[in-house]
C-alpha cells in the first residue's frame, strides 16, 4: 500500500496527540505546537486531495487488523479530501488570525486548554471528513460539540455563559436525535459501516420491510444534524454565540464546525441512505423549505441588528440556509452548489469575524455601527479584508459569493417551475438584503468619522491599539482573501473536483 494512504488516519492522530501534549505545555509553546499541527494536517490533506484527484480514485483504510464489516474504517476520495483541506486551512487561518485576541480574551492559565480544545475541534473535523463508519461519526460529533462549546465558553464576558448554555442545549438535542437514528440504523440493517447500511436500506426498500422505522430513522438523522448545524428555526443560539466568543472561536464555529455537521449529513445522504431513496427525497424536500425560510429570515434579522457581530452571525443563519437549499434541490448540480457553498462560506465568515474584531478594536472595542464609522481608515488592512468578505457575501463577480449564487441558480433551473421560481426569488431577495446590510456596513466603515456622532467615551483620534501591528491577522486575511479570489476567479477548478468526486462518492 502506498504510504500516502496513511495520511487520513495521520491527520486525526496528529490532532489527537497534539491535544494531549498541549494540555501540559506552557501557553506560548502550546500555541506554536498547535499551529505546527494545523500546518502539518493541512499538508496531509492537500497531498490526499492531489493524490485522489489526479488519479480520480478513492481508497479505504482499515483501522486495525480486521477486514471491512468487522472493524472501523476510513475512506478518502476527492470530496472527503477537499472537505478536510478546506477545514484544516480555515482552522489554521482562524487560529493565527485571532492569536492576539485569544491572548487578551482568555485568562493566562486557560490558554493551553484553549489550544487543546482547538486541536480536538480539528481532530473531530478530520474524523468526520474521512470516517466511513456511522458510529465513529457519532463519537467525533460528540467531541466536536463539547470542544466547540469549550472554545466558546473559555472567554468569560457578558453573555457567554448564557450563550454557551443555549448552544449546548440545542446541540445536545441534535446529538440525541442523531444517536437514536444511528441505533435504529444498526437495529434494522445490522451494520455500522456506511456501504453495508446502504445495501441493507436498499434491500428494505425493495422488500418493504420495516418501512416505518426506516422513515423515522432518516427523519431523526436529518433533524439531528440540521439542528446542530443551525438551520432555521434552530439558529437562535447563533447571534449570542458568535457575538460574544473570542474571534478565533467565532470564526471556527461559524466557518467550519457547523459545516462539519452538514458534511456528515451529505455523506449520510449519499453513502448511507442513497440519493435516490424515496424517504430521503421527502426529507430533503422538508430541508429545502426550511432552507428557503432560513435564507430570508436570517437576512431580515441581520438587517435589523445594530451590532456588527450579531449582523454577521445572523447572516450565517442565512448562509446555512443556502447549503440546505442545495441539499434539497439534490442532483449533481444541487450537491455541487451545497459543497461549494460550504467551502466559500467557510472562507468568508472567518475573514469577516477576524477583520470585524480588528475594526471594533480600532473603534474603542465597540461593535455598534455608530462607533464603527471610519474604522477602515483607522485600520486599513482590516477595512480592506472586511470589504472583500462583505462584497463576496453580496455576490460581486470575481469573488466566491458570485460563483455560489451562479451554481445555485444553475441547480434550480433543472427542476420544475415552482421550485425554480421559489429558489430564484429567495436568491434574488437574499442578494438584495445582503447588499443592503453589507454594503451599508462597508460604506459606514469607509465614511470618514470627522464629526461623527459617537455614543460613548470613545474618541476616534486615539489609535493606540489600532496602530499596533498584527502580523497574524494580516497573514490570515491574505490567506483567506486568496482563497476567496481563487474560488471566485476559477470556480471551475473546485466545482470540477466536487463533481468528479461526487461520482466516486456514492
Amino acid at each position: 500500500m502506498e504510504f500516502i494512504r496513511n495520511f487520513p488516519f495521520f491527520s486525526v492522530a496528529v490532532f489527537l496527540f497534539s491535544a494531549v501534549i498541549c494540555s501540559v505545555l506552557k501557553p506560548r509553546a502550546a500555541r506554536i505546537w498547535t499551529t505546527a499541527a494545523e500546518a502539518v494536517v493541512l499538508a496531509f490533506s492537500l497531498s490526499v486531495l492531489i493524490y485522489t484527484t489526479s488519479g480520480d480514485t478513492f481508497f479505504r483504510y482499515n483501522m486495525g487488523h480486521f477486514d471491512a464489516p468487522w472493524s472501523n474504517q476510513l475512506r478518502a476520495g476527492p470530496v472527503e479530501a477537499l472537505a478536510a483541506t478546506s477545514f484544516s486551512y480555515v482552522l489554521l487561518m482562524s487560529h493565527i488570525g485571532g492569536i492576539r485576541y485569544a491572548k487578551a480574551d482568555i485568562e493566562p492559565k486557560k490558554q493551553s486548554a484553549y489550544c487543546t480544545l482547538l486541536n480536538l475541534v480539528g481532530a473531530a473535523l478530520m474524523a468526520l471528513s474521512y470516517t466511513n463508519d456511522l458510529f465513529t461519526g457519532y463519537v467525533f460529533l460528540e467531541i466536536l460539540t463539547l470542544s466547540s462549546c469549550g472554545v466558546l465558553v473559555i472567554r468569560r464576558a457578558g453573555r457567554t455563559a448564557l450563550a454557551a448554555t443555549r448552544y449546548m442545549v440545542i446541540n445536545l438535542l441534535g446529538s440525541g436525535l442523531f444517536l437514536l437514528g444511528t441505533c435504529l440504523f444498526y437495529g434494522i440493517t445490522g451494520h455500522l459501516l456506511m456501504e453495508y447500511i446502504r445495501d441493507g436500506v436498499a434491500t428494505l426498500e425493495v422488500t418493504g420491510d420495516y418501512a416505518v422505522p426506516l422513515t423515522v430513522t432518516i427523519g431523526l438523522v436529518c433533524a439531528g444534524l440540521a439542528i446542530k448545524s443551525g438551520l432555521f428555526p434552530f439558529h437562535t443560539w447563533m447571534p449570542d454565540t458568535y457575538g460574544t466568543a473570542t474571534p478565533t472561536s467565532s470564526a471556527v464555529l461559524s466557518g467550519i464546525v457547523s459545516k462539519g455537521y452538514i458534511f456528515l449529513l451529505i455523506k449520510i445522504i449519499y453513502r448511507v441512505v442513497g440519493v435516490d431513496s424515496a424517504a430521503m427525497t421527502s426529507a430533503r424536500h422538508i430541508l429545502y423549505v426550511f432552507g428557503i425560510a432560513g435564507i430570508i429570515m436570517g437576512s431580515i434579522w441581520a438587517m435589523q441588528s445594530a451590532h456588527l457581530n450579531r449582523m454577521i452571525a445572523y447572516s450565517s443563519a442565512a448562509q446555512i440556509g443556502y447549503v440546505f437549499v442545495g441539499i434539497g434541490l439534490g442532483g449533481q448540480a444541487g450537491f455541487t452548489a451545497a459543497l461549494f457553498q460550504i467551502i466559500a462560506h467557510g472562507l468568508c465568515k472567518p475573514l469577516l469575524f477576524l477583520s470585524g474584531a480588528r475594526l471594533s478594536e480600532a473603534s474603542g472595542d465597540s461593535t455598534e455601527f455608530a462607533d464603527l464609522q471610519g474604522a477602515a481608515h483607522r485600520n486599513k488592512p482590516a477595512g480592506l479584508a472586511f470589504a472583500v468578505g462583505a462584497l463576496s457575501m453580496v455576490g460581486i463577480p470575481t469573488l466566491a459569493g458570485f460563483a455560489v449564487k451562479l451554481f445555485f441558480a444553475a441547480a434550480a433551473v433543472e427542476h420544475g417551475l415552482l421550485v425554480d421560481i421559489a429558489t430564484l426569488t429567495a436568491l434574488a431577495l437574499s442578494t438584495l438584503l445582503n447588499a443592503l446590510y453589507f454594503v451599508r456596513t462597508v460604506i459606514r466603515i469607509y465614511t470618514p468619522s470627522g464629526n461623527a456622532p459617537t455614543n460613548g467615551a470613545f474618541a476616534p483620534t486615539d489609535g493606540e491599539s489600532a496602530r499596533t501591528r498584527d502580523p497574524g491577522l494580516i497573514a490570515a486575511a491574505v490567506g483567506l482573501t486568496a482563497g476567496i479570489l481563487l474560488l471566485g476567479l476559477m470556480p471551475g477548478v473546485v466545482s470540477g473536483i466536487i463533481s468528479r468526486g461526487l461520482a466516486l462518492f456514492a
Binding site: V20, P69, W70, D133, E142, G190, S305
Partner: protein, 293 residues
C-alpha cells in the same frame, strides 16, 4: 501570617493582589441588547399570557407527537433475536471468532478495544475533552476568581464517616483494580473499573477533606497520569492501526486466551482508559466543588 494568607484561608482560595486587570473591555449584558428581539418582545407584551399558554400547548403537542412516533417505530422494529437472521453477520462473527482473533475471553472488551478500537479512542477523548471544558469553564484564575463559594456543610470531620471510609475505601480500590486488570477475562474493563476507582477517590475526599485528598492527587499528578495514559493509548493504538492497515506484522501477540497476560494491548489499554476515567470523575468533583485542584 500575612493579611493575604488570612484572607485566603478565610475565603478558601488564593488571593492575588498583584493579578493583572483583564486587558480588554468586555461587553456586559446591557451593552449587547439584541435589538432584533424588540419586535418579538412587543408581541409577547401584546399577546401576554395567552401566547404563553399557546406556547405551552404547542410544546405538549410536539412532545406527544414525537413520543408516539418513536413508540410506533419501536413497535415496528425487528424482534430481538428472532427477525434478525439476515442482519446478524457482524454479531455472529464477533461471537464465533472474537476470542480466537483478539485473545480476549471477554468478547465485549475484544470488540471495544480491538475490532472497534478507533471508536473507543474517540470515547476516551470525549472524556478528556469534557475535563478540558470543565477546566475552561470553572477554573478560578487570579483576578477573575469568584469570591462567593458554594457553602455546604463540612462533613469531613465526622468520625462515623471516617471510620466507615477507612474500612470501605481499600476494598473499593482493590475491586476497581481487579475490574481494570481482569477486564479482558471477565465482565468489566476500563470504563467501569475507572468509575469505581474514581468513586473511591471521591470517598477519600469527602471523608478526609480537601487537605488530605489534595495531597494524594494534585493537579500535577492528575495531568501527568492523564497525559501519559492518553499518549500511550494514542501511540499504542496508532501502531496497531498502522500495521493493520498496511498489512504489516504486528509485534503484539494475542497470547493464550484466559491468561492474565494475554489479548495483546487490551489489558494495558484498559488500565489507561481506567486512569483517564478515574481522573475525569475525581477532577470534575474537585473542579465543581472547589473550582481548583
Amino acid at each position: 501570617m500575612s493579611i493575604r494568607d488570612k484572607l485566603s484561608a478565610l475565603l478558601g482560595f488564593d488571593i492575588d493582589f498583584d493579578a493583572p486587570v483583564p486587558p480588554r473591555k468586555t461587553e456586559t449584558a446591557a451593552e449587547q441588547t439584541p435589538d432584533e428581539w424588540r419586535f418579538s418582545r412587543r408581541i409577547m407584551r401584546a399577546g401576554g399570557r395567552r401566547l404563553g399558554a399557546i406556547y405551552k400547548i404547542l410544546g405538549v403537542i410536539c412532545s406527544v407527537v414525537l413520543m408516539s412516533t418513536l413508540l410506533l417505530t419501536v413497535a415496528g422494529m425487528p424482534r430481538y433475536g428472532v427477525d434478525q437472521e439476515y442482519m446478524d453477520t457482524v454479531t455472529y462473527e464477533y461471537i464465533s471468532h472474537g476470542m480466537e482473533y483478539t485473545g480476549a475471553v471477554n468478547i465485549v472488551s475484544g470488540i471495544i478495544l480491538e475490532y472497534r478500537a478507533f471508536d473507543t479512542l474517540g470515547e476516551s477523548f470525549v472524556l478528556f475533552c469534557a475535563v478540558s471544558c470543565v477546566l475552561a469553564l470553572l477554573r478560578a484564575d487570579g483576578a477573575d476568581s469568584e469570591p462567593e463559594r458554594v457553602e455546604y456543610r463540612d462533613i469531613s470531620c465526622d468520625p462515623i464517616l471516617r471510620r466507615t471510609m477507612r474500612a470501605v475505601v481499600p476494598i473499593v480500590l482493590l475491586y476497581g483494580a481487579y475490574v481494570l486488570l481482569f477486564g479482558h477475562l471477565s465482565p468489566g474493563g476500563g470504563f467501569s473499573g475507572g468509575a469505581v476507582i474514581g468513586a473511591a477517590l471521591i470517598m477519600i475526599a469527602s471523608a478526609y477533606g480537601e487537605d488530605v485528598s489534595g495531597r494524594i492527587l494534585t493537579e500535577r499528578v492528575f495531568k501527568t497520569v492523564t497525559t501519559c495514559a492518553l499518549s500511550f493509548y494514542c501511540l499504542g493504538k496508532s501502531y496497531t492501526f498502522y500495521t493493520g492497515a498496511n498489512g504489516l506484522h504486528s509485534v503484539i501477540g494475542n497470547g493464550t486466551p484466559g491468561n492474565i497476560l494475554s489479548a495483546g494491548l487490551i489489558m494495558p489499554l484498559n488500565v489507561a482508559v481506567g486512569m483517564v476515567v478515574a481522573c475525569t470523575i475525581y477532577g470534575m468533583y474537585r473542579m465543581i466543588g472547589q473550582r481548583r485542584f
